[in-house]
Symmetry: C2
Subunit: 214 residues, 2 copies
């Protein structure tokens, strides 16, 4: 089976899940932590080399305060949970903003845990404008290759994006790295994550003809 | 009905269509010209404000010579056909390269035909690296807004991307403008374009919850 090297995860539908259970919207986020760990373990098992989780974005921080606090806490917990595994962890996002949780500052340079293992990236207070805007600062103008000049330059090309919650869009997820990615959409909400979702996505990806635009 | 303002068209499957008819691959491209005009007329009828056609890319020019000639000619014809309509036409692509057809030079600044009408953009010898690479030249560094600094800055945000030929990826199509776009995939090949494809895509788009990342 031809496996994707790098999988992008858009864990959408936490609020809709909470509402469908009669809970208030912000209650859905903490139910997304365990799925993130399950997915990590599946990736480890089958041999995926890199995972990027879409944590929260600068756009998201404009939501009501109780939601912002809930998704920020769920993201902090998610990163901490993965730091107990064999993973090489990096948090990517605008840490100059007060919306960036200080608890995650330590991870804004890649840190190895256990045997290292899978490269895991979390996008936290991320925005594509911020990511590409780094090009304009000219700090890394040693090359004509824009992929070396964006803020997320330590995140590799994404082969497969899996999105939960039925929406068929990137919502600003790593536009440069996703230029050639294949998109797989799962209608179930992220808190309803099942192992089958992951295996179905891999089975589908195996059938795709990868051309990298050629 | 809530309509997309700007539709991106990825007219894929020309070669597979030709092969399915027992023809050689490059024969498929000229069968894509008429669908492009049909689609333009449908957009005009329902009131779409802007269309971007994915013509060919720098990546594509690495294909066998006979294919390159065939898709280049089909693109030239497609632009000329739309120039007979009420359209405000722009060709966006790397015109410094010898792969850029000289016949389309005239359109590399937006030109109005008839009453103007719909804004139509053709991506010709386009590449996302080239598009974003323009930021690094610093020629338009009058602002912190990267959308004003890319080569395709005269192309608006895309609301809906429709791709024919079954593949679920952007293949380098306007990464900045497509950051929030909804993706609709049609399994039929582009030469088998039907009006229903367009109407089904609009019906689907009308049901999407547009948040622009919020």
């Amino acid at each position: 089976m031809r496996l994707p090297k790098h999988i992008g995860i858009i864990p959408d539908g936490n609020r809709r899940w909470a509402q469908s259970k009669g809970m208030s919207k912000e209650m859905g986020y903490e139910k997304g932590i365990n799925p993130g760990l399950c997915l990590f373990k599946l990736c480890e098992k089958v041999g995926i080399k890199e995972i990027t989780y879409y944590g929260f974005t600068v756009d998201n921080t404009k939501r009501p305060r109780e939601q912002r606090i809930a998704f920020t806490n769920a993201c902090i917990d998610s990163v901490n949970v993965i730091s107990k595994e064999n993973a090489s962890l990096l948090v990517v996002g605008n840490k100059e903003s007060k919306m960036f949780p200080q608890e995650l500052n330590y991870y804004t340079e890649r840190k190895q845990f256990g045997t290292g293992g899978i490269k895991v990236n979390f996008l936290i207070n991320y925005s594509w404008q911020w990511d590409l805007g780094q090009i304009m600062t000219g700090e890394n103008m040693d090359t004509r290759d824009i992929t070396n000049n964006i803020a997320s330059r330590d995140v590799s090309r994404v082969d497969l994006v899996i999105r939960w919650g039925g929406r068929r869009r990137l919502s600003g997820f790593l536009p440069v790295q996703s230029a050639y990615a294949d998109f797989y959409i799962i209608d179930d909400y992220w808190p309803d994550f099942k192992e089958e979702h992951f295996y179905e996505a891999l089975k589908w990806y195996d059938k795709q003809d990868i051309t990298l635009g050629g």
